[in-house]
């Protein structure tokens, strides 16, 4: 599979075409047994591809993304195209407006193959928390694709699309990228407008692309980082133009870079991931990097902090799904209160309910100081830890997860154990830092193992350039 960057060159030279690429993706999607898609848009996609092809024939291509097939996690609002959040409560919801991500990627000429599954409302690590058929790992169907953006990763891995936009609240993009062996990149919080992204936890949610290479990330990110005044929390930095720099990155660029790592995290991993992590450190050293041990003393509280803050915000964000204005409404109720209770009981899955309950409790009067408010304070301490650590290094190397992909069905047994798996991705999320997971190794069984790189706040460019330099090593 080629980079978007190179496919674009080939389309310009008429060696391939948007229609050809789209037909190939649709064929792969249709032949796949993996239930990746919630809404597949064959006809619409082919029409978009034809238009792109016409542009190429007139040498008027719009961007690197013109004519390139992609998928969107079903948390992204698409005008007139059903947007379910992979849940029952929105199974029939057709948005009256287009969200920022959908609008901008299609404006750049992107061919939308379809909307893909995820854990409902982005809550989960396996893509199994959904009433829709559960997608699995294209590398090995006994394993999950990860979550919550599992199907996004799967659609790229199984060549149903060249990239997908997922979301990352506590690791939802980095984890599936690690499980499926592709690149997952969460920009700094505030870099991509959240307008039109169904909210899970507003202070953490960030649109996050999944693709085959770091170079592709450059092609994609340019089109989803322009200033959008509809999101007041977006930083006014403007579009990130990084493609030409990325395309010229070379391993020697890494010379002299300081890479921080924490043994606390590495030692918490299983033997195969641990081995991969130490190999990664060696690889960086060989490329001329200095690897230094760093300390993130409060990071061990990050799972608790995350599951209080994210659930608290979610408890309010999901209040609008009440059966009154849109989405599922029960037909079993008489009266208002019963309508609320039954619509929500029927419409939300167990994991969503669990999180709404935790969040509601954490915000309740009498408990808020001990839970939500304290969590906000510890969040600040964790961010300070990172600031301190970045005095010693340029970026941080961390595992994405203690293990490679989980077996299917494992998550049901112990939700708390599942939460603990987020330990490696959550600290950067709580601090809003840019981070990405890139493929590095694999288990004996052949399951991919990725590594996570965490950059300084709003220094996404440096992070991507270093990751690209690492990616093109021999």
């Amino acid at each position: 599979m080629k980079d978007i960057f190179h496919l674009h060159e080939q389309m310009k030279l008429k060696k391939t075409s948007a229609v050809e690429l789209t037909q190939e993706c649709l064929k792969n999607a249709n032949e796949s047994k993996n239930p990746v898609f919630i809404s597949k848009l064959d006809d619409r996609a082919l029409l978009q591809a034809q238009r792109a092809q016409e542009r190429f024939s007139k040498n008027q291509s719009l961007s690197y993304l013109d004519g390139i097939p992609f998928t969107l996690k079903d948390l992204f609002i698409t005008q007139d195209i059903r947007t379910t959040a992979s849940s029952k409560i929105l199974y029939n919801y057709i948005p009256p407006y287009d969200g920022y991500v959908s609008e901008n990627l299609q404006k750049a000429g992107g061919v939308l193959i379809g909307k893909v599954s995820c854990d409902q409302f982005g809550m989960g690590s396996t893509n199994e928390n959904t009433p829709f058929p559960k997608c699995f790992n294209p590398v090995n169907d006994a394993y999950v694709a990860g979550g919550s953006s599992g199907a996004s990763a799967a659609s790229v891995k199984e060549n149903s699309s060249y990239y997908s936009i997922g979301t990352d609240t506590g690791g939802s993009t980095r984890l599936p990228a690690h499980f499926c062996g592709i690149v997952g990149y969460k920009p700094t919080y505030g870099r991509v407008s959240r307008y039109g992204q169904i909210a899970f936890a507003s202070s953490l949610d960030q649109a996050a692309p999944l693709a085959n290479s770091v170079l592709d990330m450059g092609c994609i990110i340019e089109h989803i980082t322009s200033k959008d005044q509809r999101d007041p929390t977006q930083a006014p930095l403007g579009a990130m133009n990084l493609v030409s720099q990325l395309s010229q990155a070379k391993p020697s660029d890494l010379k002299g870079k300081k890479i921080g790592y924490s043994s606390y995290f590495i030692e918490a991993c299983d033997s195969e991931v641990k081995k991969a992590m130490y190999e990664a450190i060696d690889t960086f050293k060989k490329l001329g990097c200095e690897c230094v041990e760093i300390d993130l003393p409060h990071a061990k509280y990050s799972v608790s902090v995350y599951y209080l803050i994210a659930t608290s915000e979610a408890s309010a964000n999901l209040a609008r799904f009440d059966g009154i204005h849109f989405g599922h409404r029960t037909n079993q109720a008489s009266g208002l209160e019963e309508t609320y209770i039954k619509s929500r009981t029927e419409g939300f899955g167990d994991e969503v309910k669990r999180r709404i309950l935790i969040g509601t409790f954490s915000l309740s009067s009498g408990y808020q100081d001990a839970y939500f408010s304290k969590a906000c304070k510890v969040r600040r301490l964790i961010s300070n830890d990172f600031k301190e650590a970045f005095n010693k290094c340029d970026f941080i190397l961390n595992p994405v997860c203690a293990s490679a992909a989980f077996k299917r069905g494992e998550s049901k047994s112990d939700p708390f154990k599942m939460y603990m798996n987020d330990l490696f991705t959550i600290p950067a999320s709580l601090s809003g830092l840019p981070c990405l997971s890139i493929p590095f190794s694999q288990t004996k069984e052949g399951l991919p193992i990725g590594i996570q790189l965490i950059g300084k706040s709003f220094q996404d460019e440096e992070l991507l350039l270093s990751a690209r330099a690492f990616e093109v090593r021999q």
Binding site: Y195, I198, P232, A319, R320, I324
Partner: protein, 479 residues
């Protein structure tokens, strides 16, 4: 037993911005249902609020006019509750750190002495949609959803129904003066919640309070307070306890009824709104808004008394609404005489008509210029004051100018001394018998002559000139 009432008012005021608080929808209360809505104010999944900076300016204006400190850093919070007219499932408000705090407003107490009522805080928030109940179904109109509001939370410094309505009136007048709220209570631009508790006279501790929600007239505020006072007093007199309740006031019966009894279950789970950045206001912005503040009612009253030599009462009545004060001052620009003359006509005659027709002074069918012209006619003696009143009614009803009506009615006074003297001479000459009687000391006959002159001039002769001329001519006869 004798009790003292501890009363605090919370006033919600809709800000009169063109567009809503978080989106670009027009604020329009008369539009068809659900036509002034968008993805944001209908809370479509994925939407985010975008703060209307005009609303912030308006809130700062209110804060400054009510002598508040403006918080240069304030925050928005979510207040969580389920209701169909609240599509997000939470209201965006300011809980922890509102935009303005620690203000005050001076009002008159029941003895007429000035007293200060503390303003605890002014917070920015948003209005909900409207529910309409029809039979066994309910309809929701979201045109109002997301309209910017300020809530003005007063300290419990008020002690009587009259003080309360005085405070509410003054707030209304200030908001309208500031041009930040239409101030129309029937349309729900202003709503008032009354918190009231009783304690024995002289006691230090507070009693349990009740809250009467959503009062939308000054009279309702007074009636609700009177009723609650009575109700709580009789509970206490009978040794019963007042329950902490939220009440609604029924305008028909004049009674309150329970909306809900407060309990621990009442928990709005406030927390910082993660979709909006903290609101940072620069000192320069505050200074600029302060410089641009219009004249407020108290200043205007003082100015009317000193500049126009009006009695305090007149100044207060005329300043009670901005449009009335503006009307008065506009009249003066077309008038040369004593401002008090205009004041009398505006306050007594014009307001009588306005009130009779339940109209609005700013849309008066008699423009200020025409009222001034009418008063000019009276002042110059061209019509009598009595006829002037009839002329005004006709001007009002038929939307005509003063001179049009005066000409039409033919009521212009004859003040021309020569023509009056001519008439008087004719009458004196043709009634020698009556002249005789007058000269013999029958003073009453003077009235006969006046009557004759008026009869001949259809009442239009200037009475003063008639009387002077008569005296002159009759005294000639005596020589």
């Amino acid at each position: 037993m004798s009790y003292e009432a501890i009363i605090g008012l919370e006033i919600h005021a809709q800000l009169s911005t063109q567009t809503k608080a978080w989106c670009f929808c027009e604020i329009n209360t008369t539009a068809y249902e659900n036509t002034k809505t968008c993805p944001v104010c209908t809370a479509q999944p994925g939407t985010l609020p975008f703060l209307n900076t005009k609303a912030v300016d308006y809130a700062i204006r209110a804060g400054l006019a009510l002598n508040c400190e403006i918080n240069l850093l304030s925050k928005f919070d979510r207040k969580n509750y389920f209701y169909p007219d609240l599509p997000k499932g939470y209201q965006i408000t300011q809980f922890e750190r509102p935009i303005a705090i620690n203000g005050s407003l001076s009002i008159l107490d029941d003895e007429g002495h000035e007293k200060k009522v503390g303003i605890q805080r002014i917070q920015m928030e948003e209005d909900t949609g409207k529910s309409m109940h029809m039979g066994d179904s309910s309809l929701i109109n979201l045109n109002r959803s997301g309209t910017p509001l300020i809530e003005i939370v007063g300290e419990p410094d008020i002690r009587s129904a009259k003080e309360a309505s005085g405070y509410f009136k003054k707030i209304q007048s200030i908001l309208v003066y500031l041009d930040i709220c239409h101030g129309n209570m029937q349309e729900g631009n202003l709503r008032c919640d009354v918190n009231l508790s009783l304690r024995k006279k002289g006691a230090k501790e507070f009693g349990t309070r009740t809250e009467v929600k959503n009062l939308n007239s000054f009279r309702s505020v007074e009636r609700a307070i009177a009723y609650e006072w009575e109700r709580q007093a009789s509970l206490l007199d009978n040794g019963q306890k007042v329950q902490q309740q939220t009440l609604l006031f029924d305008v028909e019966s004049g009674k309150t009824r329970v909306l809900r009894t407060k309990s621990d279950a009442d928990d709005y789970r406030y927390f910082p709104e993660p979709d909006l950045m903290p609101l940072v206001i620069t000192q320069e912005r505050v200074v600029k808004i302060k410089e641009e503040l219009p004249e407020l009612p108290d200043d205007k009253i003082r100015r009317f008394v000193t500049d126009y030599s009006l009695p305090l009462y007149d100044a207060e009545v005329l300043s009670s609404s901005l449009s009335l004060a503006n009307y008065f001052e506009e009249c003066l620009t077309f008038f040369d005489g004593e401002p008090k003359k205009i004041s009398n006509w505006v306050m007594v005659e014009l307001l009588k008509l306005i009130n009779e027709y339940n109209a609005d002074i700013s849309k008066s069918p008699v423009p200020a210029k025409e009222l001034a012209s009418l008063v000019n006619f009276v002042q110059k003696g061209e019509i009598s004051g009595k006829i002037g009143k009839d002329v005004l009614v006709k001007m009002y009803d038929e939307k005509k100018t003063a001179s049009e009506v005066i000409n039409e009615l033919g009521v212009k006074q004859i003040s021309d001394t020569d023509s009056i003297e001519k008439i008087v001479r004719e009458i004196v000459d043709s009634n020698p018998g009556e002249v005789e009687k007058y000269l013999n000391g029958k003073d009453r006959v003077f009235g006969f002559f006046v009557g004759q002159v008026m009869k001949q001039t259809k009442g239009q002769a200037n009475p003063q000139i008639v009387s002077e001329t008569l005296k002159k001519i009759l005294s000639e006869k005596n020589e």
